[in-house]
């Protein structure tokens, strides 16, 4: 058996996807504050046991900051200018939980396990391959984005004007994104990803105890949060 990262503590991508969808409902139907903190702590704990200690702490800190942003009903009392400024933060606060779960899913799922788990639930390859390519896109994108940021700093491109900043960053980012997508597709196609035969997997994706723990804990917290908020 060749060394492949132990995935017993890393839930199946399908479980992670289920959690993202479930937490998506908290954007439209808010849960009480204790439940929100419980979700954030569970996600941080998941990061932690998978070796992403920095992300675990960042997740708590970000939510800690957003927690103090008033919600939309409280914002109505503010003057229009402050309302506009704070609305963006309120929106981030509203969708923070599904975003955090989504980030955890992207950060801790490799393309192999994504394809395997989608194979397991009989998702056709016309759907599973583009999703896998999409997942693979993010880590490359982060690398390339850092290089662009570096180039902007050394060229003295000021970041004070966000509109101008976006205008400048858009050109290289679009070109680089298209190159990354091309590179990943080439890599996949030359590795026979489109081969129509029945594929095998060296590491079969199974449901572990962690999948139940993650899915059930989040479900209980969300259900409890909805009930308590009434």
């Amino acid at each position: 058996m060749y060394y492949i990262k132990d995935n017993r503590l890393n839930p199946n991508p399908i479980t992670k996807f289920f959690v993202v969808v479930l937490l998506g409902f908290t954007g439209v139907h808010s849960i009480n504050h204790y439940s929100e903190w419980a979700v954030v702590i569970v996600i941080s704990a998941m990061y932690f046991i998978n070796g992403f200690k920095k992300d675990a702490i960042k997740n708590i800190l970000w939510f800690g900051v957003l927690f103090f942003v008033p919600d939309f009903s409280a914002l109505e009392k503010f003057p229009i200018f402050i309302l506009m400024m704070l609305s963006l933060f309120a929106l981030c606060r509203m969708f923070y939980l599904p975003f955090a779960a989504g980030k955890f899913m992207i950060k801790t799922s490799d393309v192999g396990s994504i394809i395997s788990s989608m194979d397991a639930i009989k998702i056709p390859k016309e759907v599973s391959i583009p999703i896998a390519v999409m997942f693979r896109f993010f880590p490359s994108f982060v690398e390339e984005k850092n290089s662009i940021k570096m180039a902007m700093r050394i060229r003295g491109i000021e970041t004070k004007n966000p509109v101008k900043y976006l205008e400048y960053v858009a050109v290289p980012l679009l070109i680089i994104s298209s190159n990354i997508a091309d590179d990943i597709s080439k890599a996949a196609e030359t590795k026979c990803i489109a081969n129509p035969i029945k594929k095998t997997r060296y590491v079969s994706v199974r449901i572990h105890l962690i999948d139940f723990i993650y899915a059930v804990t989040i479900s209980v917290i969300v259900a409890g949060g909805i009930i308590c908020s009434h």
């Binding site: 060229r155 996949a188 990803i193």
Partner: protein
């Protein structure tokens, strides 16, 4: 047996890239395709592995056959079952982030059972000692490590034909030697190798046939003697290994690196103390893949916030902000540093008090006048690089950095870049060039700083 019969390749209606190529490659043969940039070497490689038709919308006439089986109309995966590819940039090779999963990915896609996968892995590891690369993230590997993993992945696939497009362009000397050994092993195993390369010295013993490609044609088959005696007339890189010329270690004392310390993830440490550089000089920065050359640039330019550094210029300590203000950088992938919608705007960006006269002069000097209204992203790779150089020239920085400016470049273009850099050097600036390209450094640099001498394991003090 691989056969190319009257192969012509077109982009669009009439842009002919390859013209009537006829080539028979016997099983187990090693073919080296060489020639100037744009001669059509890579197009031959991309025709054989099918990428030219799938990704570049090229059309072709003629036939490409493997064991008399015509590749026309075949899906890319069908071609990939017979032919494996190594790309110039190893980034293009990896689909998985985990290296072991990447090696196994092809085997999974061809439906091998677990036992067969393990047997192929064992066989590969017996030939190539790369066990230390297994189970790692591709983002933590150096360029050299990535490239040897690509070659190993080709072997494990079991394909009898491997095409390689400039596999050494991002490698240092040590990894070129490793690559050469790996290719020799593949050849001994009876695998057919077709290699497009500018750097030819490491392949002269290995190649059975050396073919000069010129203007889309197989211009001439060269003997080793012909290659050794006339590489310059043919516009080729050196056919023998170039040795770094003995250079003055340090000339001048205008810019002093009092201290530069950086700890890497893998435990290694870059520690430079009391090294001085002089205005008006060009310094080559060398060292093996992963020894901290890019880190050196980031710290020196003030782009890196993590390392400890104390840098003094003419008696004044430069903080990170000062360094950023006084530095310019031409990156290896210039696509990262082109931001506006015209060449002229690009050059003006971030430069204060630039007169039209100066701008026109720079545009003229770099043959960009005709292109000044074009979108920078619509230019060729060489033209983009000249736009980046033009913006550096206009910024008039004290410290100018180049990161691998000649990667994958032929002799003529390498000399052109060397000339440009030498022209940029004035008594008011210091130029640093990070490069593996010894021929280029011998041509351009006044002094060399090898960073390997300053790299130590973290445990050593």
């Amino acid at each position: 047996m691989l056969t190319l019969e009257n192969l012509s390749l077109f982009y669009g209606q009439d842009k002919k890239i390859l013209d009537c190529i006829n080539l028979n490659v016997a099983d187990g043969e090693c073919i080296l395709l060489t020639g100037e940039s744009g001669s059509g070497k890579s197009s031959i490689i991309n025709s054989i592995n099918g990428l030219a038709f799938e990704y570049e919308n090229a059309k072709f006439s003629g036939n490409i056959k493997v064991d008399n089986k015509d590749l026309k109309g075949m899906e890319l995966y069908e071609i990939s079952l017979m032919i494996s590819s190594v790309f110039q940039n190893p980034k293009t090779h990896f689909f998985n982030v985990d290296t072991t999963l990447e090696l196994l990915f092809y085997l999974e896609n061809i439906g091998l059972d677990r036992k067969e996968m393990e047997s192929r892995m064992e066989d590969m590891l017996r030939l190539f000692p790369i066990k230390h690369l297994l189970g790692r993230s591709i983002f933590d590997l150096s360029g050299g490590e990535k490239q040897i993993l690509c070659v190993a992945a080709c072997y494990i696939s079991g394909c009898k034909i491997i095409v390689l497009d400039e596999p050494s362009s991002n490698l240092d000397d040590r990894y070129i030697d490793i690559l050469k050994e790996m290719l020799q092993i593949l050849k001994n195993k009876g695998i057919t190798l077709i290699i497009a390369e500018h750097r030819i010295y490491y392949l002269t013993d290995l190649a059975d046939r050396i073919i000069l490609v010129r203007k889309g044609e197989l211009f001439k088959e060269l003997t080793k003697d012909e290659l050794l005696n006339s590489e310059r007339q043919l516009g080729l890189r050196s056919a023998i290994k170039t040795v770094l010329k003995a250079q003055n270690k340090s000339v001048g004392n205008d810019l002093t690196v009092k201290k530069l310390e950086y700890k890497f993830k893998d435990g290694f440490k870059l520690k430079i103390e009391d090294i001085s550089f002089g205005l008006g000089n060009i310094y080559g920065i060398t060292g093996k893949n992963g020894c901290g050359k890019s880190t050196f640039i980031r710290v020196m330019t003030g782009l890196d916030d993590k390392g400890k550094s104390e840098i003094i210029f003419n008696g004044k300590t430069l903080n990170k902000k000062d360094r950023l203000k006084n530095s310019s950088l031409v990156m290896q992938d210039v696509n990262h540093q082109l931001f506006t919608d015209s060449v002229e705007e690009e050059i003006k960006l971030g430069v204060k008090d630039l007169s039209q006269d100066r701008l026109d002069k720079v545009l003229y000097g770099l043959e960009l006048t005709e292109l000044k209204d074009r979108h920078p992203m619509s230019l060729s790779g060489g033209q983009k690089q000249r736009v980046a150089i033009a913006s550096v020239l206009c910024k008039n920085s004290r410290f100018i950095f180049f990161d691998e400016p000649t990667s994958g470049m032929d002799y003529k273009n390498m000399i052109r870049i060397s000339k440009l850099i030498k022209e940029m050097s004035t008594k008011d600036n210091i130029i640093f060039i990070v490069s593996h390209d010894i021929e280029f450094l011998n041509e351009t640099a006044d002094s060399i700083l090898c960073l390997e001498e300053f790299t130590t394991p973290a445990s050593k003090k």
